[in-house]
């Protein structure tokens, strides 16, 4: 791959190539920051514009919008507690509290650097190890995926500290909500109660925006709002000083590894990676008590992991022709439209094109830092408005965002009801992150469990024989579940 680098750079460094990289990344950041647009819609919007372009420019444009939008989602998550994309939902947990403390610029600085590093490492992984990693990912069948998702669900325990029962209940409600609609295997309607609109299930983003953003508007309205107060003090991105990284590099390295690993597995996605990584950071960070109150480690974990997924997800897409998620499925369509057939043979039959795509992806992640700073500086004046006006604007953005996901009026109603229920639950101290985690991981959990049971003729015990990766993952999940109990026992013994 590396010997193709000169030809690859020659293909990228044309006027069209550079313009596409810069404008595509900026557009991706802006679209990602708008709640409800999301990476899939952003890539889909740009797809028709690529038809008149050359092969390399078209593919680079889609990649730039993809990487830019994943990062852009963190901007609205941090500034207004409204994740632009589902994969940024975990960023809200610590990013927004930092904004409320008046450290919005610094929170975005952490998010930007973590995103850039996550993206660059995953791009390097893509360049060096695409064929080998893709081959390993093929070892993941339904049983291994089930074990991986169980491991992911253990993060509900860690994000529920302080109100474990409420967190678990919210998580279970989230998993249940994900099962509403057509059954993925038989197609039979479940819990639709005759409502045609429910056949497609609850839209994830409608629920996420409702429980996080709209409920925040209602919560603030229920308190006395200071008419002259500013919601967020934001002047632009403030990059953290070098010494501030001390003790955080471990979190970064682990999160990038999780993001790359999860990205490679088909059907998991960036939201899953962000939550698994967040939970792992919360377990292992020396500053775990500060999580949920504006701890930079939480932002680093979430943002580096969801950006590391971008490169990882391209591995099965390019090397095997298997899209990892909805976004890479749209990307697969782009490649096919431009005469590229992804698969094992592509690596050997057109190495220059592959090298150009992978190198372009690395460059996109490099320019993400200056472009992120530029876009956020341009957006800063918009945020210097009074709380009442910003709250009203957020409510409007919630509605617009959800409308653009599917154009379905029913989703708007779901978002509004989710907002009201979220408000009532949050008033009683129910954390909303477990609900979203449940909704994100629920479909894969169910599908992999049922596929696993089909493979083993209905025997759950067979999950533990002949599947060493699954056993290792389940044991890790068990270990991680028992850690908080062990910690609580040790604390009790210490205080006694």
């Amino acid at each position: 791959m590396l010997d193709m680098l000169p030809q690859a750079l020659g293909l990228i460094f044309t006027l069209e190539g550079i313009a596409v990289l810069v404008l595509g990344t900026m557009l991706g950041i802006i679209l990602g920051a708008l709640p409800g647009i999301g990476s899939t819609v952003a890539v889909a919007i740009i797809l028709p514009f690529t038809l008149g372009m050359g092969q390399i420019a078209a593919i680079l444009l889609v990649l730039a919008v993809y990487a830019g939008s994943v990062y852009g989602g963190s901007i609205s998550a941090i500034l207004i507690n409204t994740p632009g994309t589902p994969q940024s939902a975990a960023t809200c947990l610590d990013g927004y509290p930092m904004s409320q403390r008046g450290e919005a610029g610094l929170a975005l600085g952490w998010a930007t650097l973590a995103s850039v590093i996550g993206g660059i490492v995953s791009a390097i992984l893509l360049i060096l190890a695409a064929p080998q990693v893709a081959a390993f990912a093929l070892n993941f069948g339904p049983i291994e995926t089930f074990a991986l998702i169980l491991l992911g669900l253990t993060c509900i325990v860690s994000v529920s500290e302080g109100s474990m029962i409420k967190g678990l209940l919210a998580g279970v409600i989230g998993i249940f909500l994900s099962s509403v609609g057509g059954d993925p295997i038989t197609g039979e309607a479940r819990f639709t109660f005759g409502a045609f609109e429910l056949l497609a299930g609850f839209d994830l983003l409608a629920v996420v925006i409702g429980v996080f953003a709209l409920s925040e508007v209602l919560l603030r309205a229920s308190r006395r709002i200071d008419g002259a107060a500013l919601l967020v003090a934001f002047e632009g991105i403030v990059l953290p000083k070098l010494r501030a990284w001390k003790g955080r590099l471990g979190v970064l390295a682990k999160s990038v590894a999780i993001g790359c690993g999860v990205g490679v597995l088909p059907g998991t996605g960036a939201a899953t990676a962000a939550f698994i990584s967040y939970a792992e950071a919360r377990r292992s960070s020396p500053r775990r008590e500060n999580f949920g109150k504006g701890e930079p480690d939480g932002i680093i974990a979430s943002e580096s992991a969801n950006n590391a997924v971008t490169g990882g997800a391209l591995v099965p897409t390019m090397a095997l022709g298997i899209p990892g998620d909805a976004i890479t499925a749209v990307m697969l369509a782009t490649l096919t439209l431009h005469g590229v057939t992804p698969g094992v043979r592509l690596m050997t039959s057109n190495p220059t094109l592959i090298a150009a795509i992978f190198t372009g992806f690395l460059l996109i992640n490099l320019i993400l830092l200056p472009l992120g700073m530029l876009v956020s500086r341009l957006a800063a004046p918009l945020l210097r408005m009074r709380e009442a006006f910003l709250m009203t604007a957020i409510a409007i953005f919630c509605v617009i965002g959800v409308y653009f996901v599917r154009g379905n009026p029913f989703d708007l109603l779901v978002m509004a009801i989710a907002g009201v229920i979220g408000f009532l639950l949050r008033r009683q101290g129910y954390p909303m992150a477990p609900l979203v985690i449940g909704m994100v991981l629920g479909p894969t959990l169910e599908m992999s469990l049922r596929q696993g049971l089909i493979i083993t003729n209905g025997s759950f015990a067979a999950f533990f024989t002949g599947h060493p990766i699954a056993v290792a993952l389940m044991l890790t999940a068990l270990l991680l579940l028992s850690l908080p109990v062990y910690r609580a026992m040790m604390n009790r013994r210490r205080t006694a």
């Binding site: 249940f176 508007v217 008419g227 006006f389 009026p409 509004a416 009801i417 008033r427 169910e446 596929q451």
Partner: protein, 151 residues
């Protein structure tokens, strides 16, 4: 009995009863001769059983601890909830512009703004800018009004 009811217990009770009702639906609608993997209600039954069990624990904890009840949400939250629900329902029927202008006025008044000119400027200015951004720049049309085609 009434002394045991507080807002936390009421929320837990509603969640518990909802869980029971859904679990009953899942059990009643199941097909007993199907293998679990092919039974559409197999997975929801597991999840709902957990829901009921955890909600029962939360209900017991809420009744047992009897935490001091929260200050009831002010009247303005009721108005805002109704405004949000109406905005969501009417958004696609009456179009983006009309509903957004109306929502901005109600929301800003509820949130304590009293300067009429500022409210009017924001209520008309913000939706207009968003209309231009989405309809003209991004070419992603927002719902149009059935009364005025240009809005």
């Amino acid at each position: 009995m009434l002394a045991l009811i507080n807002e936390r217990a009421l929320v837990a009770l509603v969640l518990f009863l909802t869980g029971i009702a859904l679990l009953w639906t899942a059990i009643a609608g199941g097909t007993p001769d199907l293998q679990p993997a092919f039974d559409p209600r197999f997975f929801p039954r597991i999840v709902l059983t957990l829901w009921v069990a955890i909600a029962a624990m939360e209900l017991a904890a809420a009744v047992w601890r009897r935490e001091p009840s929260l200050e009831p949400a002010a009247w303005r939250i009721g108005v805002l909830v109704i405004a949000v629900l109406l905005y969501a329902v009417l958004f696609t029927r009456l179009g983006f512009f009309i509903t957004s202008v109306a929502f901005c006025i109600v929301s800003l008044l509820v949130l304590g703004q009293r300067h009429i000119l500022t409210i009017a400027a924001f209520a008309i200015g913000a939706p207009t800018m968003l209309l231009i951004l989405f309809n003209r720049v991004l070419k992603m049309p927002l719902p149009a009004s059935p009364f005025f085609w240009w809005l």
